[in-house]
């Protein structure tokens, strides 16, 4: 994987030293909060409900065992012994004390990590398919391109004060696991008629207050044109994007208000100007990065030990059937480590669990870990013969929940348990739903079902693209949960449809149970997933299950 150059290291160290001085000046009173706030945000430091929160970037979700161990050390030394993995492949520490943050940043720099551009109106951490480099269905590993974009966008002088934050996601596979259609720019690797690799460029997607599915601005962009084209898009947005109203400042609104065609014309004109300035150095840099992402040497070994365990141990079999994904090398598997054990906070890992995962990556996984936007951890390169040992170690650490993609594999943002912007809690709702379906022992019968929960309209929990989306709101001083159905974050991206009036905190779990019950009653066969059934049936039977016969009256009151 990518290792820092001397330039990267000096840049990050320099930023930490600057921030250390800024924190000192804040604490001794020479800086006011108004002066300090933008500086701390530039370094990923937020002030939340109960404490500061440090958000650390994990570029394209990739880290090695040394980095994971360092996150564990930071959690133990300066926080409360755990970390929270987010839907943007970041990790958040919820309890740092201001004076400690420069030391935390130095500890991160020791392992080539930082918290830069995890906040502010800049190009944020570039996200990528968490199965990158390992997936059987992939055209090419998207991470070299993501790293190129990271280098291009980090401290880009023109793009430090965009109208609003800017998020880019890349996938190298036709099966979109990076939610590219819900990003400011989404890049999907495709091939043209001659077989040459390039990108489908999607622009103006985003969730939040005004959710929109991104639109294709270029069907096929040759690889060599990537940076000038991205620069043209961001520069056009920088010029046309609205700065008068923060709710209309994202590129999705710029594209919407100007129209895709007019926006595309402006981008293409800018691209024509910029293209000659890119002399090919970017392609040399990319070639260098690609060498660092060369796949590991996959060992060939007998898988009898896996087959024997699979045949005899139903618990192992259930985990293997649920949490393994097809690998590009048939002897290997992609392991998803669930951070969603029912009852647990989605996305949280203790420092001990982090160390277990780091050890497993080192011993069995070519020293690589990934963080998925679904808030799980991935071991992308495990030989099948090693899976029994990996499973046993995970089980001992409370990390062996066999629920990937099932009803308890819930995305939940921090919500009002931590987030200052929240309008309701999301974590306890996720805990209660997962625990309830665990009790019912129905999870595997229900099959693939993605529930996503956000604690406010900002939609960090991606609720719009959940098969079942839950949005927590404050209705006249009481928590109230709105449900959407039929959302989809894949290549067939769709926004969910609102069912009707929301539900109180103590009504939301029974409501979800009724929706799932309606699905089980109405599906053709177990092969028809929740999403397929919803697409066939529409809202009707689900509304009936949720609201009963009085639905019309309650609807009008919504």
């Amino acid at each position: 994987m990518y290792t820092y150059t001397e330039f990267d290291d000096a840049f990050v160290r320099n930023r930490v030293a600057q921030f250390r001085a800024q924190v000192e000046r804040r604490l001794d009173g020479s800086l006011t909060e108004d002066e300090f706030k933008p500086l701390r945000l530039m370094n990923g430091l937020y002030l939340q409900l109960h404490a500061y929160m440090l958000r650390v970037a994990i570029p394209y979700g990739t880290l090695n065992s040394r980095q994971m161990r360092q996150l564990a050390l930071i959690a133990d030394r300066w926080d409360k012994g755990y970390g929270h993995f987010t839907t943007r492949q970041n990790i958040q520490f919820n309890w740092p004390v201001l004076a400690d943050v420069p030391d935390m940043l130095d500890a991160l720099a020791d392992v080539g990590m930082h918290a830069i551009q995890t906040s502010g109106n800049t190009i944020r951490n570039v996200t990528a398919d968490h199965f990158a480099g390992a997936a059987a269905d992939e055209i090419a590993d998207p991470r070299p391109v993501a790293e190129l974009i990271r280098q291009w966008s980090t401290d880009h002088p023109e793009f430090q004060f965009l109208p609003r934050k800017f998020k880019i996601a890349v996938t190298g596979s036709p099966n979109d696991r990076a939610v590219t259609r819900a990003h400011d720019i989404g890049l999907r690797m495709v091939r043209d008629a001659s077989g040459a690799p390039g990108f489908e460029v999607i622009v103006g997607g985003g969730l939040g207050r005004t959710p929109m599915i991104g639109k294709v601005i270029r069907d096929f962009l040759p690889r060599a044109d990537l940076l000038p084209y991205l620069e043209a898009i961001v520069a056009t947005y920088n010029l046309l994007g609205r700065r008068d109203n923060k709710y209309k400042a994202r590129i999705k609104i710029t594209v919407h208000e100007n129209g895709l065609d007019a926006f595309r014309d402006a981008v293409e004109a800018r691209f024509a100007e910029l293209r000659p300035a890119f002399s090919g150095i970017d392609q040399e840099v990319l070639a260098g990065i690609e060498a660092q992402f060369a796949p590991p040497a996959f060992r060939q070994a007998d898988t009898a030990i896996f087959d024997a365990r699979y045949a005899t141990d139903p618990v192992f079999r259930s985990w293997a059937d649920t949490n393994l994904t097809a690998h590009r090398d048939a002897g290997h598997a992609i392991v998803t480590i669930s951070l969603k054990t029912p009852g647990q906070t989605p996305g949280d890992a203790t420092s001990d669990q982090m160390r277990v995962m780091a050890d497993l990556a080192e011993r069995f996984g070519h020293d690589e870990l990934r963080i998925s936007h679904e808030q799980n951890v991935i071991l992308p390169y495990v030989h099948r013969a090693d899976l029994p040992a990996v499973f046993d170690a995970l089980r001992a650490a409370g990390l062996a929940a066999a629920n990937m993609g099932l009803v308890s594999d819930i995305i939940a943002c921090p919500g009002m348990d931590y987030c200052a912007l929240a309008t309701a809690r999301s974590i306890p709702v996720a805990q209660a739903i997962a625990t309830r379906f665990e009790e019912l022992k129905l999870e595997h019968e229900i099959g693939p079902l993605k529930i996503k929960i956000s604690g406010c309209i900002n939609a960090c929990g991606h609720h719009h693209v959940g098969h079942i989306g839950i949005l927590g709101l404050d209705r006249a001083g009481v928590e109230n949960y709105q449900i959407t159905l039929g959302g989809d974050g894949t290549e067939d991206a769709a926004l969910g449809d609102r069912t009707g009036p929301g539900f109180a905190y103590d009504e939301i779990v029974p409501a979800i149970e009724r929706i799932v019950g309606a699905y089980l009653d109405h599906r053709d066969s177990p092969a028809e997933t929740f999403l397929m059934a919803y697409r066939r049936l529409g809202l009707g039977p689900f509304k009936a299950a949720l609201y009963g016969s009085g639905e019309g009256a309650r609807d009008r009151a919504a």
Partner: protein, 104 residues
Amino acid sequence: MSRRFTPKIVTANDLHKGDVVYLTADDRWSRHHFEAELIEDEAIADIRRIEASRQTGTVVGVYLADARPGPRGPEPVHFREVFRAHGPSNYPHGKQTETAAPRP
């Protein structure tokens, strides 16, 4: 048409630790909601808030929150303030364990 003024407390986050603090009648910052000064008059509430906002070396993000009298002192009204006074619901962290605050 004047509406009845809902009593207020002045609250903020501590600059150093980031935790929730409340302004007391004798101008201290307390970790306990029930020690806050309950302000019944709108004009006084604004003055207290503005004064508190000047303490930029001690606290961050000063604002007025609704409160009501209780047996031990002021109690939060809105659920957000209940959580702020207590701590997160998924772990026994924050005020609920650090300051022996009573469960809401």
